[in-house]
């Protein structure tokens, strides 16, 4: 019943390892975009302008409740219609970065709201400007409680990278598809991809838990 061919497995392994590199690069680059843009989205919701807050909130809600795969298609295909041609990598990173920026903005928001009121008042009492207040008092205290959530979304972004295969980014699933249709064998490539995902995301989740515990102890929580 188990028609597993080890020879074939070893033969395709180098290609899969190479594709794993691409997957990790995609996840890393997407995450950097998400971390930076997410902070901007979170801060934009804290300005005195009610209109801006409302617009950003609705935008975040919209992105969070629609499928990432559809957003990837949207970014990839709508650009050329208006004369902007983006490469698969470029549009993939924009879509995935933007999607997770919205999730991360919620994580930051929780972190910022967890900073005690006294800290805000103290910053005002010291006559800090708004920029100083956020940079030197609020954000450093908002990040540690947000770290757990940020870590979970790093693993989440890694697990969502296979969706990039639909626009031709040569990550793991894309490579497994190619191997499968070249050799008419899907058992080994897809199973290996599953194992590679487990081998990366389980230790990563464990490390994040350890790191979270470490930060909590450091903060005396």
């Amino acid at each position: 019943m188990f028609d597993w061919k080890w020879e074939f497995t070893w033969e395709i392994l180098p290609r899969l390892v190479y594709a794993t590199g691409n997957t990790l690069i995609a996840a890393g680059a997407g995450y950097v975009i998400a971390v930076v843009f997410g902070l901007m989205l979170a801060l934009a919701q804290r300005t005195p302008s009610r209109a801006l807050t409302f617009t950003v909130r609705e935008f975040v809600e919209f992105i969070r409740s629609t499928p990432l795969i559809l957003q990837i298609f949207f970014v990839f295909y709508v650009g050329p219609q208006f004369g902007v041609r983006l490469s698969p990598w470029m549009s993939g990173m924009i879509a995935i970065g933007l999607h997770y920026a919205c999730y991360l903005s919620e994580v930051y928001r929780g972190g910022i709201e967890s900073v005690p009121k006294g800290q805000w008042e103290a910053a005002i009492a010291l006559n800090m400007t708004t920029a100083q207040k956020y940079r030197r008092v609020i954000i450093p205290q908002a990040i540690p409680p947000a770290l757990a959530g940020m870590g979970n979304y790093l693993v989440g972004i890694f697990k969502d990278t296979p969706m990039l295969s639909v626009i031709g980014v040569a990550e793991l699933i894309h490579t497994a598809n190619a191997i499968g249709s070249e050799n008419y064998r899907f058992l080994e490539p897809y199973t290996m991809v599953g194992i590679i995902f487990l081998a990366i995301s389980l230790p990563a989740a464990g490390l994040i838990r350890l790191f979270e515990g470490y930060v909590r102890r450091k903060l005396g929580l």
Partner: protein
């Protein structure tokens, strides 16, 4: 082609796609809730074998990507003589994936029921099954409903991936329309809005209603 003309021409296909999406959503949700309950309870069991099974299931489905699981179920299982029709494979994969996330919510919900409730049930001589069904689970349900709301949105988004194995859902229909007309902004824009409407005006209000309804039943509203 303007948006109005576009919708006038293609609304039947978008609508039938949305119908398939809703069907996939409902079937996957039913399966996901059942698996969550089973696995969540098993993970709390005294029996090491049951606990081990649940932990393995949860880690495998949370540690790999939904796309990988979907491809595995659809392309690899037939090699073991288990051919599943694509529509079934779709909601099976999405439901099993969500079940793994839901199991953790069930476990958390049960653990959040105060210890006194367990002791009281023991004191009035209830069997473990009675205790779970009549005392613990109803309270656990109320505690875990808010995160279930988020999970249901994730589930709705997850159903978009069944288009990858050619289930004719909303995502699939939009891709088809896009490749025959190249009206990307119109078709993907319309699909995004439909997903948003489903999430915002169907799933979320229903989950809110359920939260209120259950809280009222327990006399907590």
């Amino acid at each position: 082609m303007g948006l109005y003309d576009f919708l006038a021409q293609y609304w039947p296909r978008l609508l039938s796609g949305a119908g398939i999406t809703v069907a996939q959503f409902l079937l996957a949700a039913a399966l996901g809730v059942a698996i969550s309950l089973c696995m969540g309870l098993m993970k709390l069991s005294q029996n090491a074998l049951l606990r081990g099974t649940a932990v393995t299931y949860i880690e495998i489905f949370r540690g790999t990507s939904l796309v990988v699981q979907l491809y595995w179920i659809f392309f690899v299982l037939p090699l073991f003589g288990l051919t599943i029709e694509k529509f079934t494979a779709g909601y099976l994969a999405v439901g099993m994936n969500i079940g793994a996330y839901g199991a953790e919510l069930v476990r958390g919900g049960i653990l959040s029921v105060p210890k006194g409730q367990w002791e009281a049930a023991l004191a009035i001589n209830m069997s473990p099954a009675q205790r779970m069904r009549r005392i613990i689970l109803p309270q656990a349900l109320v505690n875990m409903l808010p995160p279930w709301g988020n999970l249901m949105i994730e589930l709705l988004k997850g159903t978009a991936l069944v288009s990858l194995i050619s289930v004719a859902d909303l995502m699939f229909e939009s891709r088809q329309i896009n490749s025959s007309t190249f009206l990307s902004a119109q078709v993907f824009g319309a699909a995004l809005v439909i997903y948003y409407l489903l999430a915002r005006f169907l799933v979320t209000p229903f989950m809110r209603w359920l939260e209120r309804h259950m809280a009222r039943k327990l006399g907590r509203a």
